[in-house]
């Protein structure tokens, strides 16, 4: 029940959600809803673990995970961009496909140990009281990368030319099209980016924050939480990062609550009957719903963030979009 430990763990596991949610933000900002995050994440986690297992290099594992999940998501791109299929159904198929592929190809990986992504302290910064041990001590490189990646993503989307084009394509593809921006190509690119980041999120799990391959339990629904986080974050990478960290910390808190005999001076019911922890385990899912309620209300109120063309196929000459 040490707040530093909870925060430390939250930053580590939150990094998974951070990568996955920001990836989805990129895809959705371009107008493509990809509900296949869970499948791509699991596929990425498997690919990373399996590659690290066979090559001994965790970095190759990360790279392979990103490419594998990225190319898997290209399938979603093809079906929704060129075939104009329903993005919801296609995303669901991607979940099935990714999960199936991961389970089939991941046979026999359970229980193996592999080379992991190294962790280290950041000099000087780790000496800061409270903040240091939580933020800058004994974290994987990927966690530190997350600190930088979220603000960079925000800057990219709002302050750069490609970011401006990305926003335009998600808001009004027809306008971008008339100005010679390649709507289809750009969408494919960001669908790939979204997939690659989901793969990175998977690799972060299997090679860093909770190392190992535990079949479908490896991701255990975090891909879906990432999708929800995007709405809650109103398509803003900074808010997505914050939300990811909060969820991560919450998961750790739940674990820690089961330990002590006394809680705030009262007898800890979880100590007496550990089965009560099932209710505690529900909290992330319940909180996701609650967060979504608030997120949706904010979106409805001031149409904050939601890209107007999200979920709609673009066909030149059709729809005024």
């Amino acid at each position: 029940m040490n707040p530093v430990i909870i925060l430390h763990a939250g930053l580590a596991t939150g990094t998974v959600l951070l990568f996955a949610a920001i990836g989805e933000i990129f895809a959705e900002r371009s107008g493509i809803l990809n509900l296949g995050i869970e499948g791509m994440m699991l596929f990425g986690a498997m690919a990373a673990f399996s590659t690290s297992f066979s090559t001994g290099s965790p970095w190759t594992g990360v790279l392979v995970a990103m490419l594998a999940a990225g190319f898997l998501s290209i399938l979603h791109g093809l079906v929704t961009i060129h075939f104009q299929a329903d993005q919801v159904v296609s995303g669901l198929s991607l979940t099935f496909l990714g999960t199936g592929l991961a389970l089939v190809l991941g046979e026999g990986l359970t229980g193996q140990t592999v080379a992991l992504i190294p962790s280290f302290d950041i000099p000087l910064l780790s000496a800061i009281p409270f903040i240091g041990p939580a933020f800058f001590e004994d974290h994987s490189i990927l966690v530190y990368a997350g600190y930088v990646f979220a603000p960079l993503s925000w800057y990219y989307i709002h302050k750069t030319r490609p970011g401006m084009h990305l926003r335009a394509i998600g808001e009004k593809p027809a306008a971008a099209d008339t100005l010679g921006i390649d709507v289809y190509g750009t969408r494919y690119f960001y669908v790939f980016v979204g997939g690659a980041l989901a793969g990175l999120a998977g690799a972060t799990i299997s090679l860093s924050v909770s190392p190992g391959w535990y079949s479908a339990q490896t991701t255990s629904g975090q891909g879906w939480i990432a999708v929800a986080l995007v709405i809650f974050a109103q398509w803003n990478p900074l808010r997505a990062a914050l939300g990811g960290y909060l969820f991560g910390a919450l998961r750790r808190l739940i674990l820690d609550l089961q330990g002590p005999k006394l809680l705030l001076g009262f007898v800890n019911p979880l100590y007496i009957n550990s089965n009560y922890s099932f209710f505690l385990k529900m909290t992330p899912f319940i909180l996701t719903i609650v967060a979504l309620i608030f997120g949706s209300r904010a979106v409805a109120k001031k149409r904050a963030g939601s890209p107007s063309a999200l979920g709609l196929p673009f066909i030149r000459g059709e729809r005024g979009m």
Partner: protein, 505 residues
């Protein structure tokens, strides 16, 4: 400023869509420094032809020359590179981005990092040159329609366009704004630009164009004719292919009791900005009240408030029954019919059959509704009758509504809305985008309803239509009624002035 080499020369352009020959061997020559009008009815193929010149479509055959050089556009980028800029009828602007961002969209500068303030200055300079002023930092959704159009023009000018295509630029503007626009067009021509001006409004063409090309059903009926001595009647004949006689005649008629009564009604639009600001009006049985105004001045909200689709403050009643802030079903049960502005997005269900579409308002009532179930045999029979009566062209009543042409779809909607024998019809732009034949039959249907004693609120942006059909005309501007005139002795200039927000003196 005419040079021997034309700015644009289109030769034998043919463009085909599945089942439609949109342009058939069309020729068009745009001389340097002229305003060339491209005239034609809706669906004549004007926009298609110009979209090809802007690089959006590829012609099946034919050649395009720009400044004497043969061109072959594969994307809008190619066209932009040759100095062609198009101002689309439906603005191609990203509402959530600023004016500057919209202008810079698709360009290769700024390189990666955007220093927007530098570009704001550049754009201000361009605004000075052509007198097109709009705040570069404003978001598009905050701008008026006229300002948005200026952004569209600036967008093409910033790209160094010397050939401008303007697709029905006046359709969204108030009379005064139209004058400004024409001034801008003149000033651009004086600075060396060449302009193709697409329109179906004859008086505008005669006012601003140097030459005119007329399209009818994808074929040129007059190519590059000089405007000297050409009358509106000549143009109309070329455009429609026969003498245009307005056969729709309205008989004088004494209106009955007040059906619709609105008192000091206020409402917000979707962006939560005030759209209706104290509307009061009456419509009586057997009377058509026309609502004139430039689009976006509260007309949609007015129709939605009456039909229960939008919340409001104030009082709205049908024959004395208060209906404000009631769900849509209340108005339907009080026999209020609604011909919505957008027949595809609101008025019909595209994948459902014609039969299904005709029972949208009556599926709960005898004889179609039958307890928990629907008598689809009866519904089908009724739909067949309506199909014959309203002359709906479709293979069968099982055809999905989405496969119908605009005019036939509108007839399905009218058949549904009129066959319920309404007390009040709220008709919003009932003839927009239809060909002359369909317009006539729909206008006739509305007048028949008037004779039967139905109260009709006709909201239209076509003044001609309002003058032909209405008994009285109320002019709306920024959600307020500027005044109400008798259609008999209405002065068009006066209506135009009121449309810009000048109240009746």
């Amino acid at each position: 400023m005419t040079s021997t080499i034309p700015a644009v020369a289109l030769k034998d352009i043919t463009i085909r869509f599945p089942g439609v020959l949109a342009n058939d061997k069309v020729n068009l020559t745009l001389e340097q420094g002229e305003v060339h009008a491209l005239l034609g009815e809706n669906g004549a193929g004007k926009s298609t032809l110009m979209n090809a010149l802007a690089g959006l479509y590829k012609p099946v055959s034919g050649t395009m020359n720009v400044h004497g050089k043969l061109v072959d556009f594969n994307s809008p980028k190619d066209a932009i590179a040759k100095g062609i800029g198009m101002v689309h009828q439906h603005f191609m602007l990203v509402p959530t981005q600023t004016v500057t961002e919209n202008i810079l969209l698709g360009l290769n500068e700024p390189k990666f990092f955007m220093r927007l303030s530098e570009y704001d200055e550049k754009i201000r300079a361009l605004q000075e040159q052509y007198g097109l002023f709009v705040d570069p930092r404003a978001k598009i959704w905050q701008l008026t329609v006229g300002e948005q159009q200026r952004v569209e023009i600036l967008k093409t000018l910033y790209r160094g366009a010397d050939i401008l295509i303007m697709d029905e630029p006046t359709a969204v503007l108030a009379p005064q704004e139209i004058e400004d626009l024409m001034g801008t067009m003149r000033s651009m021509v004086n600075q060396g630009k060449s302009i193709i001006f697409i329109s179906h409004k004859l008086h505008e063409v005669t006012a601003v164009a140097d030459r005119v090309t007329v399209l009818r059903k994808g074929v040129v009926t007059a190519g590059g004719q000089s405007m000297d001595g050409v009358t509106k009647e000549d143009l109309a004949q070329l455009m429609v292919g026969r003498d245009v006689v307005f056969t729709v005649k309205k008989e004088p008629q004494e209106p009955g009791e007040v059906v619709l009564k609105m008192n000091d009604v206020h409402a917000m639009n979707d962006k939560l900005l005030p759209a209706l600001q104290g509307i009061s009006l009456n419509v009586r049985a057997g009377e058509i009240l026309g609502i004139a105004g430039v689009g976006g001045n509260g007309q949609s909200e007015l129709a939605e408030v009456i039909t229960g689709l939008r919340a409001c403050e104030g009082r709205v009643s049908i024959s004395g029954v208060e209906i404000s802030n009631q769900p849509p079903i209340t108005a339907i049960q009080l026999n209020v019919s609604h011909i919505p502005e957008d027949r595809t997005a609101v008025g019909s269900a595209p994948n459902l059959s014609i039969t299904d579409n005709t029972i949208m308002k009556s599926y709960c009532q005898d004889p179609i509704g039958n307890g928990w179930s629907i008598d689809f045999t009866r519904a089908g029979e009724r739909a067949r009758k309506l199909k014959d009566k309203y002359d709906i062209l479709a293979p069968s009543v099982e055809t999905p509504a989405g496969k119908l042409s605009g005019g036939n779809l509108q007839k399905v909607i009218l058949a549904r809305e009129i066959s319920s024998e309404p007390k009040l019809i709220v008709a919003m732009q009932p003839t927009r985008g239809l060909d002359v034949g369909a317009i006539e039959s729909i206008q006739t249907l509305l007048l028949e309803q008037r004779e039967k004693g139905t109260a009709i609120l006709l909201i239209s942006e076509e003044l001609e239509e309002l003058l032909t059909l209405s008994d009285r005309i109320a002019v709306i501007s920024e959600g307020m009624i500027m005044g109400t005139l008798d259609a008999e002795d209405a002065d068009i200039n006066k209506i135009g002035l009121m449309m810009t927000g000048v109240a009746e003196s």
